[in-house]
């Protein structure tokens, strides 16, 4: 028994060594697989933000009085908006189509006179709604600016404007709302999915494409050994990527690990096992690298990004997608990593996620090895 296990390990090790040799002989694969996490994390960490300032604003000041200039100043002086140009409302279409301005503010004639007479003047704000996030920001910012201008005038006129009711906001876990803390778990899921599903699917499909799989089968090495041997190096690569993402995240962006690092590892490991199974299944079914890429992108990369809660909250989605998300392993990984790293959750809270990942991983491995054996019988 012990000797058989020893032989088994030797054979698996031999295949794994062959695959490692392939990778090492042409290390570009390795470089790219390791550069990708770092590059993506840096770009995401520095580049991804929805908060825009200096929003280009065109202004049509029909009043031209001190009060109207004060109002326009309140828009552009704090840096929320930047004065793109003076333009009439009839030019809005041109400006929006060419991206020269995202909003156009029209201050009506008699703005100052209306204010001093106690009538509330109406400002017109034309907004380019093509980008809903930015448009919402424009609406909220304009509303706040106009309100504060009005309240400042009321205070100067001696009308007290002390709000009797206050809202105090406490933010847990990521109080500065930094995108790196939010993105590291999701990014880890996405990058591990690339390594585990696609790289394995490609390497195994490649053996079939070139016909070398049949040669391997003719050798004394068992089929299970071949599979394990091919998958092992990519398990290592995936773990390396996880360490890189988490390492760069904590070192460069101060992303905390509140919980146990061992739990991070456990989540990553289970996720990788399932993803390797999926990669194997895809390669067995397609036996063609080009088709395997597309199948992997559709079945692993897209769901890992869209249906994991990595970027967009799941509870916001239509019911069908929410249901579908329960079979996406990345959903549990993102939740688990966020729980461990940001919230300091332990297994007491997260065991259902680990269990779900284990069940999904076992299921896909069973299907994949089943297909693999049948394919050869």
């Amino acid at each position: 028994m012990k000797r058989r296990l020893g032989h088994f390990l030797v054979r698996v090790g031999a295949i794994a060594a062959k695959e490692v040799l392939h990778i090492r002989r042409d290390p570009r694969t390795l470089y790219m697989a390791l550069v990708m996490p770092v590059l993506m994390l840096l770009l995401f960490g520095f580049g991804v933000s929805f908060d825009m300032d200096h929003i280009p604003l065109a202004v049509a000041d029909r009043d031209g009085t001190r009060a109207s200039r004060e109002l326009v100043d309140a828009f552009v002086a704090p840096g929320e908006f930047a004065l793109a140009r003076r333009a009439g409302p009839e030019e809005a279409g041109d400006l929006f189509r060419r991206g020269r301005a995202l909003a156009l503010l029209v201050v009506p004639r008699d703005y100052e006179r209306d204010l001093s007479r106690g009538a509330g003047p109406r400002l017109q704000l034309l907004v380019d709604g093509a980008d809903p996030v930015t448009a919402n920001q424009i609406l909220a910012k304009a509303d706040a600016i106009v309100r504060s201008v009005g309240l400042a005038r009321a205070r100067r006129a001696g009308l007290s404007a002390e709000p009797p009711l206050q809202v105090k906001v406490y933010t847990l876990y990521n109080p500065e709302a930094r995108s790196a803390e939010y993105l590291v778990p999701g990014l880890a899921a996405y990058l591990m999915a690339i390594a585990a599903v696609l790289l394995t699917a490609l390497t195994v499909a490649g053996e079939w494409e070139r016909g070398s799989m049949e040669q391997l089968f003719a050798s004394p090495v068992g089929r299970l050994d071949i599979i394990l041997g091919k998958l092992l190096p990519y398990l290592g690569l995936g773990i390396l990527q996880l360490l890189l993402v988490v390492g760069v995240g904590t070192a460069v962006f101060d992303v905390p690990i509140q919980g146990s690092p061992l739990a991070v590892f456990a989540f990553g490991f289970l996720f990788l096992i399932g993803m390797l199974g999926q990669g194997l299944l895809i390669s067995v079914v397609t036996k063609n690298q080009l088709v395997a890429t597309q199948a992997g992108a559709l079945s692993a990369l897209l769901p890992s990004m869209l249906l994991s809660g990595m970027l967009f909250p799941l509870e916001n989605m239509p019911l069908a997608l929410r249901v579908l998300s329960y079979v996406v392993p990345a959903r549990y990984l993102v939740r688990g990593l966020r729980g461990v790293m940001l919230k300091g959750n332990g297994l007491g809270v997260l065991w259902p996620d680990l269990l779900a990942m284990a069940i999904l991983a076992l299921a896909i491995l069973a299907v994949a090895t089943g297909r693999f054996k049948r394919r050869l019988a």
């Binding site: 189509r97 809202v167 709302a177 494409e209 690298q289 869209l306």
Partner: protein
């Protein structure tokens, strides 16, 4: 003329190779399925899953006042659906524990005596506790609570001034008018972006892997010994993808307008022109990648190494204006940026050649440069 001794002969060779490539691509049903069905699946997934307008945020409510007023305020706060009550807690500490355990992402705590304080004009305080692990969602939750109680505070202030016999202050108001996308839906914003991502996946990665495959199998060398000029061969290999790209554009815009009710305001001709110049870049990058990779696996990785940052820096997901200045400068080197801008302006805003000429010229320039560089490298490697 590229290299042909007799232009007539070159044209015949080119036509024959195009026919062979088209046949080869169309014959492989699975590849065709992937080139046609995959874009459709992506469009539908993106269209339904991506929604920047966050609502249904799971919220735990701690009403420590338990008065009719506090219940009424909570009811009205939750009425618009941005926050959804998923749990009830006795106090702030319990609410925090519930957030810790993922039972809620936000908590609203009304203090004891809240209703009585408000009625008597004494200052009162509402506490909001947020799960900040998703900053966008916590912003929306905080905004919803602040907006509701801000309005309550303002109407109370007016009432008080009125009771004291003072005039309400004349406050200016904003009357917004939203162009192009009046209900601010996310899908009309996303679909033009999907187009630019999709064409990279379909053309760049597929071309790079296709050429690497020929190198792996050795068929490229076989064709090289035939009399056709290498550059004509390349052009012939890329021709099917130009048509697939144009077809995918048509497919995605049609699906977008049927399923997501996206307005098609601009001319299809301008969009096609934009797609053609954009394809020069995406195909060029694919070719370039194939010249630096030794197998399909590497081509795939390199394709992703190009595509992911390019998508991130294109303004498809987050506005370019929100990036730091140095990254904004980098986006000017990104063909995806120009195509995403142009596609959005054409489809949503009805832009014509006069509006997007800059983007089209930039795409043409990038396309010719990248394609030229890639062809030179390819030529050298083949020679």
């Amino acid at each position: 003329m590229i290299g042909g001794r007799r232009p007539g002969l070159a044209r015949v060779q080119f036509a024959a190779t195009v026919r062979k490539e088209v046949l080869q691509t169309v014959r492989d049903r699975r590849v065709m399925f992937m080139l046609v069905a995959a874009p459709l699946i992506q469009t539908i997934l993106f269209g339904f899953a991506v929604d920047f307008d966050v609502d249904r945020i799971p919220t735990v409510v701690a009403d420590r006042d338990r008065s009719p007023e506090s219940r009424e305020h909570l009811r009205r706060l939750l009425a618009d659906g941005t926050l959804r009550r998923t749990a009830v807690a006795g106090d702030a500490a319990e609410a925090e524990r519930l957030i810790d355990r993922w039972d809620a992402a936000a908590a609203v705590v009304l203090p004891p005596g809240f209703g009585a304080d408000l009625a008597a004009g004494r200052p009162a305080e509402v506490q909001v506790v947020l799960d900040g692990s998703d900053p966008n969602r916590s912003n929306v939750a905080a905004g919803a609570v602040s907006r509701y109680f801000g309005e309550v505070a303002e109407s109370m202030m007016r009432d008080r001034l009125e009771r004291q016999g003072l005039p309400s202050p004349a406050l200016p108001t904003v009357a917004p008018r939203l162009w192009y996308n009046p209900s601010l839906r996310t899908a009309p914003f996303m679909v033009p972006g999907i187009l630019s991502m999709l064409l990279v996946i379909v053309t760049t990665i597929v071309t790079a892997m296709g050429l690497s495959r020929e190198r792996e199998v050795g068929t490229l060398e076989q064709v090289m010994v035939t009399p056709i000029q290498p550059l004509w061969l390349l052009a012939a290999k890329m021709t099917p993808f130009v048509f697939i790209g144009l077809f995918d554009v048509l497919l995605v815009t049609t699906a977008g307008s049927w399923i997501f009710d996206i307005p098609l305001r601009g001319s299809l001709l301008v969009l096609f022109a934009g797609t053609l110049v954009y394809l020069l870049s995406t195909l060029g990058v694919g070719l370039l990648i194939s010249t630096v990779s030794s197998n399909q696996q590497q081509s795939f990785l390199a394709g992703f190494l190009f595509a992911l940052p390019a998508i991130l820096l294109s303004g498809v997901m987050t506005p370019i204006g929100a990036m730091p200045a140095w990254l904004q400068a980098v986006t000017y080197l990104n063909p995806l940026r120009y195509f995403a801008e142009a596609a959005r302006a054409i489809l949503l805003k009805g832009a014509g050649f006069a509006d997007v000429w800059f983007q089209l010229v930039a795409l043409l320039a990038f396309g010719l440069a990248i394609l030229g560089l890639a062809a030179a490298r390819f030529h050298k490697r083949m020679a």
